[in-house]
Subunit: 227 residues, 2 copies
DNA sequence: CCTTGTGAAAACTTTCACAGCT
DNA sequence: AGCTGTGAAAGTTTTCACAAGG
């Protein structure tokens, strides 16, 4: 029961979110109690890892028994800060922004998209999935009025930094950035980047490595100076 | 000049992809030579980290000088396996799939989307961004004929496992999975998951933590057994 | 005097292994 | 007997610090 002020890693947090997703599924099947072994079987996580991750936040299970599904969900929601509704805006309603605007999977986790913004006059006023697209100028007003916490940034790279600066000014707490650039902001605001091309490159590397385990690939030795 | 068979971490690979992106930008500005300090200033990486990452693959720079931009790009492309075209298919042409199909940012890194598939008869035959949507039954034929390496999986969760199994059978080497489930496949096939809801939850946690640094938050102590 | 490349140290994360509760 | 919670060990990644080269 040590608990303590040990710092919790990002990876642990990301896994907590995964656990939550699994638990929701188990809840739908009316499972009452689950063990670390059962839950980790579906995900790619060891039972030890699961228990260790939870241990940073207290004793959430019962020895000899397991974890009560409902209870653990509530705890995880509280830890992640989604026990109360979290309001989100989408900035940039291109193809990707529209897709996210229409994505139904956020509400399971208490995220609510409350507004969307775009520069393009042709888009302003349109309604997608019940959300009216607003002018960029209104961001600040809306964020303050609706107490928006997070923004999903899906504008083109060229304008991403400018828009992000604006978001930071009006008090947004975090940005999920889909533009393939590194945003530069005060570090009171959290940023997570989602970069599909980077993921594809990583995947490309990994998949080739898997193939080349036995072929004497030339890949792994690249030493040659320029000129 | 040790090099060696040290294993390279995933994070290193992901960063190499980021470096590559930065280098492309520097190339456009006609910068000829860059130092580890310069390149890491834009990204969120230390110069040491940058040099260490590269050191796994040989001596790519010149002491006292820096790295030749063109040269480093070529090396990174070779390391990542994108010096030759890499063919990709998109499976599931819903909103997200369409958005990715129209995304122009893959070609910079030698990825080419060669085909797209959907179950929905109403979509089959349509052309998006020059790519004709095919029936799912054709996947195997197309993958073999066009020598497809990677698949982007954007089908609903319910069918994701089934489709993934099919992809594995026809020889796909890696899957970029947008469905929020853990795919279960032979480990000769690489999988990377992109899960926007998980990212949002992580962001929510991080942004709250940043706020609560000084407020005596109740968040970090949750000890209470059920019943 | 500049910047790379790299062992060695420090920091961090995961796995192990077992005590402790049900 | 079964499963959690957790220190300690093992393993991994990052940072440090400096020799070597331009």
């Amino acid at each position: 029961m040590a608990l303590s002020k040990k710092k919790v890693s990002n990876e642990t947090i990301r896994r907590l979110a995964l656990y939550l997703r699994s638990l929701h599924k188990l809840q739908e099947i009316n499972l009452d109690i689950v063990s670390s072994g059962q839950i980790s079987a579906n995900l790619n996580v060891s039972p030890d890892q699961f228990r260790k991750d939870l241990s940073y936040f207290g004793s959430l299970g019962k020895r000899g028994v397991g974890y009560k599904v409902d209870n653990l969900i509530k705890h995880l929601e509280k830890i992640l800060g989604i026990d109360k509704e979290c309001r989100v805006i989408i900035v940039g309603v291109g193809k990707l922004g529209s897709a996210l605007l229409a994505y139904p999977g956020f509400s399971n986790f208490n995220f609510r998209i409350v507004s969307a913004f775009d520069n393009d006059r042709k888009k302003v006023g349109k309604i997608i999935n019940g959300i009216k697209i607003e002018e960029m100028e209104n961001i600040s007003r809306v964020v303050q009025k609706l107490e928006v916490h997070l923004a999903v940034l899906t504008v083109p790279s060229e304008s991403a930094q400018m828009v992000a600066t604006k978001l930071a000014k009006c008090g947004i707490k975090g940005i999920l950035n889909f533009a393939p650039i590194s945003l530069n902001l005060s570090n009171s605001i959290r940023i997570l980047n989602v970069d599909v091309a980077t993921e594809l490159m990583t995947l490309r590397y990994l998949s080739r490595k898997a193939c080349n385990l036995n072929t004497g690939s030339t890949l792994d030795r690249v030493t040659e100076n320029f000129e």
